[in-house]
């Protein structure tokens, strides 16, 4: 009897418990935002003072940009194909067929191009930077850096953040082109829609603003991914296990931040 009562009373607690995480998450978010702001500021100062080596930026741009092309190619084509097929399925009988062109191009440029590319970069670049810097922390290489009078943020952080800012818009441009091309091909094969009709639909509802909107996302995402990963990497503690834990946390943190920022774009820029 008593046991049953205890269970009954603790039931609401069991339900609430997962949500208690939100309070803590909010607190953690506030702490992190402060540190992220500081890191962004330090990066700016390092750039202005000319302490960032051009060669390091170039190297990071190569790693983030060129080496990401294959995976971005694959995700963007799949996004184009799937949008085209699903759109075709919905549109075919009820609306003018050229709307498929509108749908694919708008989805890719406004949403899928920037967001999917960003999520790919979280896995490919964000996790890598966090683990790389985290390993340097736990093996005392960051301490060694400081002991030699070097500043880890200027030498290690800034080039990665700048490279992200440069690379992301370029990759998103690439993803847009690939995604739309794949969409056209899929529309052709699947719904028998000609390229002319597809492009007619795309042009009919096109605003140049859309491109600006998509690329604004790219710039923001390209900045936030390396910023979070550098921040998380440099605050790693506790050996190899710590590196693993920090990397997982960093990936979660980046993806959540991207989704939240993505949700903030329409009310701010699509009025």
């Amino acid at each position: 009897m008593e046991r049953k009562l205890v269970v009954a009373f603790s039931l609401p607690l069991q339900v609430i418990r997962p949500f208690a995480g939100f309070g803590r998450a909010a607190q953690v978010t506030v702490e992190h935002s402060g540190a992220l702001g500081l890191l962004a500021w330090q990066t700016l100062v390092a750039i202005v003072r000319g302490r960032v080596r051009y060669r390091d930026v170039l190297q990071q741009t190569y790693i983030m940009g060129i080496q990401s092309l294959p995976i971005v190619f694959v995700t963007a084509s799949l996004a184009g194909i799937v949008t085209s097929q699903q759109g075709g399925y919905q549109i075919v009988s009820t609306s003018p067929r050229y709307l498929l062109g509108t749908l694919v191009v708008q989805s890719i440029v406004l949403e899928l191009g920037p967001l999917l590319t960003a999520i790919v970069l979280v896995g490919r670049i964000g996790a890598r930077i966090t683990a790389e810097l985290g390993t340097m922390v736990v093996s005392e290489q960051i301490d060694a850096f400081k002991s030699l009078g070097r500043d880890p943020v200027s030498v290690l952080g800034a080039p990665r953040i700048i490279a992200g800012l440069i690379t992301m818009p370029l990759l998103v441009g690439f993803a847009d082109v690939v995604g739309i091309a794949a969409g056209i091909i899929a529309a052709n094969l699947d719904a028998g829609l000609g390229t002319e009709t597809f492009l007619y639909g795309a042009r009919l509802f096109w605003h140049n603003w859309d491109l600006f909107y998509g690329f604004s996302k790219a710039v923001v995402f390209g900045f936030i991914i390396p910023l979070i990963s550098v921040h998380m990497g440099l605050r790693t503690a506790g050996g190899a296990e710590g590196v693993g834990l920090t990397t997982t946390n960093a990936v979660m943190f980046m993806i959540l931040t991207l989704l939240i920022l993505d949700a903030m774009f329409p009310p701010l820029l699509l009025q």
Partner: protein, 256 residues
């Protein structure tokens, strides 16, 4: 001269709780203590790699923690730090690793040939063959070689202070003897103030002018090697001979 004044540091639990002592200019000073008592933490407070919660460190009469950013930069420029596991930059080769030891502004104004000369000389000074190792990356080096490169990187900037964090731990006896001879030679040749954290008590006692024992967050002993050898404290005795170590096992803090 390096003075630790009432240095406190806690992480999850207190590590240093009021450490005070002075190391004179040109002195060789050894710091012993069981693993995990905060020897590395103490050494790191000297150059601001760990910031004390309370207390201060003074180097040549200048406060490290009350002199702003430039005070930390100054003491870092004056010091060479030899890390426990060498902490070489694993994306750079030996040459680049050692060259990083030259202060940034100096390196920028130094002609490439002079930099190369300096790296070459310092590698020879730590008994490495520059020809052989210069282009290697750290993962291609043996443990003893890594430590030597770490030492080369610490001294290439011509420091006045050398901080050694267990430079011989994990080395075989022959390498240990070689590195210790190197430490002794460099410390006298370069006329530096040295603080040597080591588990090789015999080596430390032979080389150093004074020694100290850190245990339970404070200095349990400080004095000359002769005083250390004759100290009746059981924990100190444990470091002097192995048999006493067994006896003292229960007396030290459970912090391993």
């Amino acid at each position: 001269m390096i003075t630790y004044r009432n240095v406190h540091k806690a992480f999850d639990k207190p590590v240093l709780s009021g450490v005070s002592f002075t190391v004179e200019s040109g002195e060789m000073f050894a710091l012993f203590g069981p693993s995990g008592t905060g020897k590395s933490v103490l050494l790191k407070t000297t150059i601001g790699l760990v910031v004390p919660d309370r207390g201060d460190v003074e180097v040549d009469g200048m406060s490290v923690y009350h002199g702003g950013r430039s005070a930390v930069d100054d003491v870092r420029r004056k010091s060479g730090y030899v890390f426990q596991h060498a902490a070489l930059f694993d994306s750079l080769n030996v040459y680049e690793n050692v060259a990083m030891g030259i202060p940034e502004d100096e390196l920028a104004s130094l002609p490439k040939r002079d930099t190369a000369h300096r790296v070459w000389d310092v590698l020879e000074n730590v008994n490495l063959d520059p020809h052989e190792v210069m282009a290697k990356i750290p993962s291609e080096l043996s443990g003893g070689m890594k430590k030597r490169v770490g030492i080369a990187r610490a001294i290439v900037g011509r420091p006045k202070i050398l901080l050694w964090d267990e430079p011989t731990t994990g080395l075989d006896p022959i390498n240990t003897a070689a590195i210790e001879r190197l430490i002794h030679r460099l410390s006298t040749e370069l006329e530096v103030t040295s603080i040597l954290v080591t588990h090789d008590v015999e080596g430390g006692l032979q080389m150093c002018h004074r020694v100290a024992m850190l245990e339970g967050g404070t200095l349990r002993f400080i004095g000359t090697p002769a005083e250390f050898r004759s100290c009746p404290d059981p924990v100190v005795r444990a470091f002097v001979d192995r048999a006493a170590a067994e006896a003292a096992l229960d007396m030290v803090t459970e912090s391993r």
